[in-house]
């Protein structure tokens, strides 16, 4: 079953700056009150890389990771569902999902994944 994306971003109630991750004070105006928002719609890929020297905990040949911006301007890092960076381009649309991103202590850890559109 498809899981809902479990990310909360924080929109400053004073200046509108969107924060992800959370900050106790707004990065722009220092205000401490935020509206909790969830990422909306699809996303645009801002940058990406394929990592071949992976850290402990990842038993695979390589991992493609990137940063994407959702339609409501929440920006987040996630794993990319592609076989090669040749399938990717900065500015392309990607479909976000909430899926296992690694296994820790025998349990799936869920996180953001992006799949190239089309």
């Amino acid at each position: 079953m498809k899981k809902e994306i479990a990310i909360t971003a924080f929109k400053c109630k004073s200046c509108g700056k969107i924060h992800y991750p959370f900050h106790d004070r707004c990065l722009v105006c220092k205000n401490r009150e935020f509206e909790r928002i969830t990422p909306q719609g699809n996303a645009t890929l801002l940058t990406y890389t394929a990592i071949f020297n992976l850290p402990w905990g990842f038993d695979q040949r390589f991992l493609i990771i990137g940063v994407a911006e959702f339609e409501n301007h929440v920006k987040a890092l996630g794993q990319i569902k592609a076989d090669s960076v040749d399938q990717l381009k900065v500015g392309m649309k990607v479909i976000p999902s909430w899926e296992p991103i690694r296994v820790q202590y025998g349990e799936d850890v869920y996180g953001l994944k992006f799949e190239p559109m089309g």
Partner: protein, 396 residues
């Protein structure tokens, strides 16, 4: 505030040092600096030890307390400074402030790291712990991965090419062959890592678009300096070097929260502060040690410090402007790329290399002729905590 000078500098060869413990490396570098300062049998007032991974990699804490005991520096004040890959410069800064304030006269600053006793997997994971623990680290992002994403953006915005990155690799590894303290003493062949069909094997992708030889090695090593007030340096065997300026600035932990992720604001601010304090301009600097953990960083930092306009650093490197004898020699030591990057040691090692340059005591094939002013940039996290020093030769 008092003017502060570096009166002793020491380093041990970086590399894989299976025979030494972390504490031994810190001790050897400290003794070299103490001897260099002519303080061999004397004590110091305080000791600042830069180290990032002792707790995680060696299962050791309170490292500074252990070091002063081993070195018979008791009852000197002692503390360990952890600030990621900028730990070394942070420790130098703390020593500088302690002496400048008048609280201590003689301070030992030593940085060291032992990273090669764990597997590459573990070392990569250890370095990745400086990323955001909820929104970055769980995804498997690494520091080279951050470098890869940054490089892609820099290439798109400024037209940096793999040829520009290659120029940095070739230069720094060539310089490493001349530096007896360097981890990597192997010159690279352009054909073998770039032009020939074998290059894909010899120089594979590490964090696209960065390749193996765009990255610094994982190293063991240590470096140390002795600080004291400039006014107390009259009877020394070696010329003191003035810490004429320093700067430090921070930025967001994640790249995605920066308005322009290609803008290394903390580098710009730290270098500006250091240069203003020293009353110098980028054009007055004769030699620089920049934090080239990845080749792109040497190029980007050379622009953010003000040596070159934004977007011109890659072409400057390719044109030889950053070589020994060029417009501004950068990383004559071989930089992190060849000298190596034992994370806690790096910021101190950069200062040691500039001290040697400003004393004019290096062999001709590494000495920047008539160098009077030098600059360092020690880059923590992915540019979220950066320190810069400007050092000046003191005229005898």
């Amino acid at each position: 505030m008092r003017d502060v000078a570096i009166i002793g500098a020491g380093m041990i060869p970086f590399g894989r040092r299976d025979e030494d413990t972390l504490m031994e490396m810190l001790a050897y570098a400290s003794l070299k600096a103490l001897d260099d300062a002519g303080l061999g049998d004397k004590s110091v007032d305080a000791v600042y030890v830069a180290n990032m991974g002792g707790g995680m990699l060696q299962h050791q804490s309170a490292i500074a307390s252990s070091l002063v005991d081993r070195l018979s520096l008791l009852p000197a004040a002692a503390e360990t400074i952890e600030n990621g890959p900028a730990s070394g410069a942070s420790a130098v800064k703390n020593g500088l402030l302690a002496v400048a304030s008048g609280y201590y006269d003689y301070v030992l600053v030593v940085g060291g790291e032992k990273m090669r006793e764990v597997t590459g997997w573990r070392a990569t994971d250890f370095v990745a712990t400086m990323t955001h623990p909820q929104v970055e680290y769980p995804y498997g992002i690494t520091l080279p991965g951050m470098g890869g994403m940054f490089t892609r953006l820099y290439m798109e915005k400024y037209g940096v090419t793999r040829e520009h990155l290659l120029a940095v690799s070739l230069k720094n590894q060539a310089m490493g062959t001349l530096n007896p303290y360097a981890h990597v003493e192997m010159a690279l062949d352009r054909d073998g890592i770039f032009d020939s069909p074998d290059a894909i094997v010899n120089n594979p992708t590490s964090a696209d678009p960065l390749h193996l030889y765009d990255l610094c090695p994982v190293s063991d090593g240590a470096a140390a300096v002795i600080l004291c007030p400039l006014e107390m340096t009259k009877k020394l065997a070696k010329p003191p070097v003035l810490i004429a300026g320093f700067g430090q600035a921070t930025d967001t932990q994640t790249l995605q929260e920066r308005d322009d992720p290609t803008d290394l604001k903390a580098v710009t601010l730290a270098a500006q502060q250091a240069l203003e304090m020293a009353k110098l301009k980028p054009g007055d600097i004769h030699v620089a040690e920049l934090h080239d953990a990845f080749t792109i960083l040497e190029i980007a930092e050379s622009e953010h410090v003000g040596f070159f306009e934004k977007g011109k650093g890659g072409k400057a490197a390719a044109a030889g402007k950053t070589r020994l004898g060029g417009q501004i020699p950068i990383n004559v030591s071989g930089g992190l790329k060849a000298r190596g990057h034992p994370v806690g040691a790096t910021g101190v090692a950069q200062v040691v290399d500039i001290v040697w340059q400003l004393r004019h005591e290096l062999p001709e094939n590494r000495q920047v002729q008539n160098a009077e002013n030098g600059l360092t940039v020690n880059f923590g996290g992915f540019g979220n905590n950066v320190l810069s020093f400007v050092l000046k030769r003191v005229q005898p």
